[in-house]
């Protein structure tokens, strides 16, 4: 446990460092000394507090939420290849977001709620649908397959909306699907504060998540109500990921890769896996955002492209090199 706490401590330090870099980095030069001493020009302060700080916080919170949800969903489904997208939350959100972008202008009712609310409602609706179909099917496989089916339907729906969209709308649908924290503001950060609450609630179930990796029957012999746990974790994930996706678009791969990295480096016990995944997910997303700002400067690369570009090959390396320890 002490070794694990030490490593978690290192992750906290790394997160502080990466977040500081993110605050100071950008086209406008801002020195940390002038910020602290209060001698920085007004414009520099505005850039940091109104643009970079909310952007950094949003990347941090969304990264933490997606990675933690990935860890819990993998444990819950006892499937190392599971990720939050599997329960339909991402594709449901994408479907409603695409619908909003294409039809939002024509139907006043939709335009009122705004893109994040539409995406969040879509994510939650898709998740509840998967949960209900899974409940009727009765097994974990039924729920996973329900997720696959709902995903396929939602993606077809996004395709249909894209087909109907004008060129301009198509561009925003595509951009949203790539994921970006470029549009961050304080209202978004305030909404994203639901994420740490969800993470805290998932952490309270850490022991039960450990037990369920043994099997449903084993978990119930350890005194756990499996159905209630499954419902709780899926709904919390829908919140953590749904809010995140609604604010930033789809962030690929973080939910799948980060939990594996934490299991390999810190451990599989959900008591350390959950905080570890939250910290590492936050670090990686803030870092990806920093990179996205410099690689094609003065333009910006959407964060989702970077996470998939870097995460994909790295995950392939893990699969080849560590298959025994990954449990696949």
């Amino acid at each position: 446990m002490t070794r694990a706490s030490l490593r978690l401590g290192l992750l906290v330090v790394a997160l502080v460092v990466v977040a500081s870099i993110s605050l100071l980095m950008g086209p406008a030069d801002v020195s940390i000394l002038s910020l602290i001493s209060g001698t920085a020009p007004e414009s520099a302060r505005v850039i940091v507090t109104d643009i970079r700080l909310p952007r950094t916080l949003l990347a941090l919170l969304v990264g933490a939420g997606v990675a933690t949800s990935g860890a819990c969903i993998q444990g819950l489904f006892r499937n190392p290849l599971a990720d939050p997208a599997l329960i339909g939350v991402s594709s449901g959100a994408a479907l409603f977001a695409a619908g909003f972008l294409v039809f939002g202008g024509t139907f006043g009712g939709i335009a009122l709620v705004g893109l994040p609310v539409a995406a969040f409602v879509g994510g939650l609706a898709a998740t509840l649908l998967v949960l209900e179909v899974g409940r009727r099917g009765g097994t974990i496989s039924a729920m996973l397959l329900a997720g696959v089916a709902i995903n396929a339907i939602a993606i077809a729906g996004v395709g249909l909306f894209s087909y109907l969209a004008s060129d301009l709308q198509l561009r925003s649908v595509a951009f949203w699907a790539l994921g970006s924290v470029g549009g961050a503001n304080w209202r978004g950060v305030a909404a994203a504060c639901v994420i740490p609450v969800a993470i805290g609630l998932m952490w309270r179930d850490a022991n039960k998540l450990n037990a369920i990796t043994l099997g449903d029957a084993e978990a119930s012999h350890l005194g756990i109500s499996v159905a209630a746990l499954r419902r709780r974790i899926v709904v919390l994930t829908a919140f953590a990921v749904g809010i995140g996706v609604s604010l930033t678009g789809v962030i690929a791969f973080v939910g799948l890769v980060v939990p594996h990295l934490v299991r390999l480096s810190i451990g599989s016990n959900h008591r350390v896996l959950i905080p570890g995944a939250a910290l590492l997910g936050a670090i990686l997303l803030v870092l990806a955002d920093c990179l996205g700002r410099i690689v094609v400067a003065p333009a910006e690369l959407p964060i989702g492209i970077l996470t998939a570009l870097l995460g994909g090959p790295f995950f392939i390396y893990l699969i080849v090199e560590q298959k025994g320890k990954l449990g696949i």
């Binding site: 993998q74 444990g75 006892r78 499937n79 190392p80 022991n207 039960k208 450990n210 037990a211 990796t213 043994l214 099997g215 029957a217 084993e218 119930s220 012999h221 350890l222 005194g223 756990i224 109500s225 299991r263 390999l264 451990g267 599989s268 016990n269 025994g324 320890k325 990954l326 449990g327 696949i328």
Partner: protein, 251 residues
């Protein structure tokens, strides 16, 4: 007990008491696992009821039940890279004991099962037999501090173990019973069952055809009729009869 229109268990009246090791034997598909799952409160019996210390499972409550009954299913599915000591420690989940106490209990279980050499290994890198020993340890850990009055249900615990570890496990089962626990296990090796069990029940086609002391239950007639092979039963005087296989078909 019926499933898919097939009667899996029929008029089975079965009990296991504290302080004894009961072995359930019988051919594949006889209903041994179904019996275990009914006794473990995993599946409800279509008629009849399950009583634990005179109470039904709902009367006892989910968590309290986990502090009285520990179950090892036939197959385990754990696929995550937990350390061995973490897997064993999961047996403490239903308890409110302090983490200090839990660590002490896990250590005692590790010592008594001679698992010290592998406690820091990653579970997913273990062999089948080692995994089984870890799962057995987890189940024992669950009731270690309340084994007097507790019940252990093991479904084919010895199947993946080598001969030495089969014997070591059965000795552990005996010592759990000596400490006041009720131990019920499904096992295929009749000769080990006769040596280590106080009672043997033979299950065939969903019925308990025989239930009693090894020497009374394991007879040539009983084994031949249940398994349909030719055998010879020797060493009856010792109280732990040995079955020798003579041929594949009954005469």
């Amino acid at each position: 007990m019926r499933s898919d229109g097939v009667t899996l268990l029929d008029r089975v009246d079965f009990s296991a008491g504290q302080g004894e090791v009961v072995a359930v034997i019988g051919p594949n598909g006889a209903g041994k696992t179904t019996l275990m799952r009914v006794l473990a409160n995993e599946i409800p019996a279509s008629s009849g009821r399950l009583l634990i210390d005179g109470e039904t499972p709902p009367q006892i409550g989910r968590e309290e039940l986990a502090r009285r009954v520990a179950v090892l299913p036939q197959r385990s599915v754990l696929d995550f890279p937990f350390r061995v000591h973490e897997v064993i420690g999961m047996g403490r989940i239903p308890h409110r004991t302090s983490s200090f106490e839990n660590r002490k209990i896990v250590q005692e279980v590790i010592d008594s099962l001679a698992l010290a050499p592998i406690i820091d290994r990653v579970y997913t890198t273990l062999s089948g037999g080692e995994r089984q020993r870890v799962q057995i340890a987890r189940v024992i850990c669950q009731l270690w501090d309340c084994r007097e009055g507790g019940y252990f249900l093991f479904d084919e615990p010895t199947a993946p173990l080598d001969l030495a570890h089969q014997v070591a496990f059965l000795e552990t089962a005996r010592s759990l019973a000596a400490d006041g626990a009720g131990v019920l296990l499904v096992i295929h090796d009749i000769n080990l069952a006769t040596r280590f069990a106080d009672r043997i029940a033979i299950l065939s086609q969903g019925r308990i055809v025989s239930d009693g002391k090894p020497v009374d239950v394991v007879t040539r007639e009983a084994i031949e009729s249940v398994y349909g092979i030719r055998v010879d039963v020797i060493d009856q005087a010792s109280g732990a009869p040995t079955v020798r296989v003579l041929g594949s078909r009954t005469r």
